[in-house]
């Protein structure tokens, strides 16, 4: 009959007879007539595969592909090796459901276990869950975890240097869940430690959230924050870019209780910002308070090692309204991207890619400052692969000139300020082109 419906008219006849009806319509006799749809949908006619393809390819052509991307701000143009795309497209992974039937879902359970191990290792935390929607919601879930963990608290504190997109999501969740968010002031592009100490001294802070590298790309010195937060019985939450953890001091080393963040930088294409993957890892003592799915190791009845969804007593389908999170899925396929990406890169490849991102970003930074048109927004702050510069001219004109050359110039964070990121996909020729365009203005 149709390509996705196999029912022929003789099938329909036989099935209707078996059910004891004359037409499928009779199966809807229990729907009140006033609620029945009495007309066709006001939608386009059915399209052939060729027409569908033409529609999307037309949009793609119009969208174009930039020659060079220097935008970051939470979504990074790192390279996805072909093997990642080819293996994640396998229908056994793609078209399966949540691995409830462990006996025929070891593929999914097995890679989630590997994913959890890799995230725990990158962040140097004890355990990781099976992944969450994105870095912003994972941070909001961490805030709710801190709130639920606190005995007497009035708020969760978040640094002003955390990505505003993440802060907005945390604020939305907190508002409706019923707790306050206090923003810790920033000074010189980093968390104002005096403001943080003052806030903690007043008491009532269930948790403190910082970002590493922070929104502006600066690698913050988090020394001592964990002790200060723990002295007030709060939880220390670090939102870290997991790609950068190839080289940077880890949330575990900073003394974090919870590490969260966006995993898109680990091999997931940008696709307008989604799907990405949120990760969450925590200390062992918080294990039973962590939201989301967790895969654990066990044995089967033949004595073989096997993997299974575990600690489900935490989850919403058991706890219903007593649950502290409503999440009941993960971004499984995106966790598979991350797993295969990390397996392919290995410690050496990941370090090399991180090192190249660092190097190219620093070279571009110096070249742009040398033009005399830019000044560092936050002078002498250490950064990783992203930095902010103030431009002395009209940023609209500059961005248009760069875009005309197929360069996505960065993310504007102020009237005169632009935030620029580099990755291992950028080349020295691209840096040169960027700088030449600046000089030509």
């Amino acid at each position: 009959m149709y390509r996705y419906f196999p029912h022929t008219s003789s099938d329909l006849q036989a099935m209707q007879q078996a059910v004891g009806i004359g037409s499928p319509d009779e199966l809807f006799a229990d729907i009140p007539a006033e609620a029945r749809l009495q007309r066709d949908y006001d939608l386009p006619a059915s399209a052939s595969e060729m027409e569908v393809r033409r529609f999307f390819e037309g949009l793609a052509q119009e969208s174009g592909t930039p020659r060079a991307i220097f935008a970051g701000a939470g979504c990074y143009n790192h390279y996805t090796p072909s093997i990642v795309k080819s293996l994640t497209a396998r229908s056994e992974f793609l078209t399966s459901y949540t691995p409830y039937q462990a006996e025929i879902s070891q593929g999914t359970l097995h890679y989630i276990f590997e994913y959890q191990s890799m995230i725990a290792e990158l962040t140097q935390m004890d355990i990781s869950n099976a992944s969450m929607y994105d870095g912003a919601t994972a941070t909001a879930e961490a805030a709710m975890m801190a709130w639920a963990n606190a005995k007497k608290a009035t708020c969760v504190a978040i640094s002003a240097t955390v990505d505003p997109k993440v802060r907005q999501v945390v604020e939305t969740y907190a508002h409706f869940h019923g707790f306050a968010i206090q923003t810790i002031a920033a000074t010189g592009g980093t968390t104002d430690r005096e403001a943080l100490s003052g806030m903690l001294a007043k008491g009532g802070v269930a948790g403190v959230i910082v970002q590493q590298p922070n929104y502006y790309g600066i690698v913050e010195d988090l020394t001592g924050i964990a002790d200060e937060v723990h002295a007030q019985k709060g939880l220390f939450i670090v939102n870290a870019n997991p790609f950068d953890l190839a080289l940077l001091r880890t949330p575990g080393e900073w003394g974090a209780d919870i590490a969260v963040g966006e995993g898109q930088s680990l091999g997931i294409p940008m696709t307008l910002g989604g799907p990405g993957v949120g990760y969450m890892a925590c200390s062992e003592k918080l294990m039973r308070k962590m939201p989301g799915r967790i895969v654990g190791q066990t044995l089967d009845n033949r004595g073989q090692r096997a993997f299974v969804l575990t600690l489900q007593a935490r989850e919403q389908h058991i706890r219903r309204q007593k649950a502290t999170s409503n999440i009941c899925s993960n971004q499984s396929l995106m966790a598979l991207f991350v797993t295969i990406y990390l397996a392919t890169m290995g410690p050496e490849g990941l370090r090399e890619a991180a090192q190249q991102s660092y190097t190219l970003a620093h070279e571009l930074h110096d070249m742009l400052v040398a033009t005399g048109r830019f000044k560092p927004t936050f002078a002498s702050q250490p950064f990783f692969n992203e930095f902010c510069l103030d431009y002395d001219g009209d940023l609209d004109v500059l961005c248009s000139a760069l875009e005309a050359k197929g360069i996505v110039p960065g993310v504007r964070t102020g009237l005169h300020t632009i935030m620029i990121a580099a990755t291992e996909q950028n080349t020295r020729q691209q840096l040169h082109d960027y700088v030449q365009t600046v000089k030509a203005l």
């Binding site: 199966l27 090796p81 006996e103 025929i104 409706f176 410690p347």
Partner: protein, 496 residues
């Protein structure tokens, strides 16, 4: 399935000195990350596996053989709508120009990819009879939370902040009460009648006692037993009269495609699962997508970022609260799982108005066909027309001791995915079968024959059924061991 190669972890295949990638040669630079102060650097390199590309390719290909997807076989998992995921949808979503688009390119420009957002949003509004959708929520549960936030914001805006209770039928998915609790709302359960439908007299009692505190009622229709709530118009009218809003959980919307729309039943807010009704793949548990629609008058509360279209058809993405003062705020960093949105639009364009209207009727016919063929050997607790799924209460003959769990596990031996088991909670031995419109009569007949065969085996060799599965890569797992001594990383598994 490749049983021989089952078992190794990628870490166990690691061999020091190997890697599976090659990057550009970047000649020496005077910039190195080791220039950073030592206390900002990690002390030891991460212990990630060291593998060549072929080792990675074989490992994950072998792992995939230990999995079961819709493309492997019949997947009658009730309430999950395991449809076929068309190949063309995958192909267009993976187009290079889409994958390589940074979100900031669309945040400040009239980017062509935003037309996918608006076109899908409009199609969903038409299919559900609502005014406007946000496509930002990443999953059904995320959509529920977003929808409830919209409802709370609406009442607060009217100065009616006392409405903090949500009515939820006791048959609801566990996510409904969890979403309400996370949204800061109090859950009040509405009882079901023995036939699984809502007890309207109990609803009336609740409304007369606490009507002024009711923010909303959440409903799944057809309900979690696959039964259409016959008094739905009555229910929505009563809740509206008490000042509450009606929330439609779109988990079971597939049954109604072509027949009936939530907006026409009186619902004010609803979420749709693109990974169920609109055929995007489940991906082993995600990424899904849970767009939320609202009726006229509630659009201003939709979340940020908000995609605006001006009179000339140009798109602009609004991200600041000042531009949408009544909005609930952001519920995600960008515009949701965009890649999933592309697939859903491809599906809707493929089927178009002619084919979409057959979805509900064919899914419903398939479910009723299975129900009628199995009622002789399986206990049918509610004997009436079902919608897209049917529920049995285990085998009709309980004397063999063979449980629903055993039947489910034995099905795996025959190359089927199991139905949903032990949900709904209304029955002790629930076995919920949802065949979807994509399955042919032959597939259903073969499945029905196997179900009959298992019923016979329960008589002739119950022990064999109770110890199933026998032909899968692993046997039944020890859940208690996993929870009692949690080992959730490779590193932990190395500790003795």
């Amino acid at each position: 399935m490749n049983n021989k190669l089952y078992g190794k972890l990628i870490f166990e295949l690691s061999h020091p000195g190997r890697k599976g990638c090659a990057l550009q040669q970047l000649p020496a630079s005077h910039h190195s990350a080791t220039d950073l102060p030592a206390h900002l650097l990690r002390s030891a390199a991460p212990r990630l596996p060291e593998c060549d590309e072929l080792t990675v390719a074989r490992h994950y290909t072998n792992l995939s053989h230990d999995n079961f997807g819709v493309n492997d076989g019949f997947y009658p998992l009730g309430s999950c709508t395991m449809k076929y995921n068309p190949a063309i949808d995958e192909e267009v979503a993976a187009i290079g120009a889409f994958a390589a688009t940074h979100p900031e390119q669309a945040m400040h420009h009239d980017h062509p990819m935003l037309r996918i957002y608006t076109q899908l949003r409009q199609a969903l509004a038409e299919l559900t009879g609502l005014s406007e959708f946000t496509l930002n929520p990443c999953a059904g549960a995320h959509g529920e939370l977003t929808g409830l936030m919209i409802i709370r914001a609406y009442h607060e805006h009217r100065g009616d902040a006392a409405r903090t209770k949500v009515l939820i039928p006791d048959s609801a998915h566990g996510t409904n009460p969890a979403s309400a609790a996370v949204c800061g709302l109090e859950v009040v359960e509405v009882r079901s009648l023995p036939d699984g439908t809502i007890d309207v007299s109990h609803l009336e009692e609740l409304l007369s006692a606490i009507g002024s505190e009711v923010a909303a009622m959440m409903m799944t229709n057809p309900n979690t037993l696959g039964i259409f709530e016959p008094r739905v118009l009555d229910i929505t009218a009563k809740v509206h009269a008490a000042g509450g809003l009606m929330y439609y959980d779109g988990a079971n919307l597939n049954a109604l495609l072509g027949c009936c729309r939530p907006g026409d039943m009186g619902f004010d807010v609803c979420h749709v699962n693109l990974h169920k009704t609109f055929a995007t793949p489940h991906g082993g548990g995600g990424p899904g997508s849970g767009p939320v629609g609202v009726r006229k008058g509630l659009e201003a509360f939709l979340p940020l970022p908000y995609v605006m279209v001006d009179a000339e058809g140009r798109h602009r993405v609004l991200t600041r609260r000042e531009e949408r003062p009544l909005s609930i705020g952001s519920i995600g960093a960008y515009l949701g799982n965009y890649g999933v949105l592309i697939k859903a639009l491809a599906y809707i364009l493929s089927l178009g108005r002619e084919e979409l209207r057959h979805v509900g009727p064919l899914a419903t016919l398939n479910a009723n066909y299975v129900k009628e063929q199995l009622r002789d050997t399986f206990l049918l607790p509610i004997d009436r027309v079902c919608k897209h799924e049917c529920v049995f209460d285990g085998l009709a003959d309980k004397s063999t001791g063979v449980t629903t769990m055993d039947v489910a596990k034995r099905l795996l031996d025959y190359g089927y995915h199991a139905p949903t088991i032990y949900f709904p909670l209304l029955f002790h031995e629930s076995l919920m079968i949802e065949p979807t419109e994509n399955e042919s009569k032959e597939t259903l007949d073969a499945f029905i024959a196997v179900m009959h065969k298992i019923a016979e085996e329960a008589q002739s060799d119950p022990e064999m059924v109770k110890t199933a599965p026998h032909s899968t890569p692993i046997g039944r797992v020890d859940d208690v061991l996993a929870a009692k001594h949690p080992v959730t990383t490779y590193w932990k598994s190395l500790e003795k």
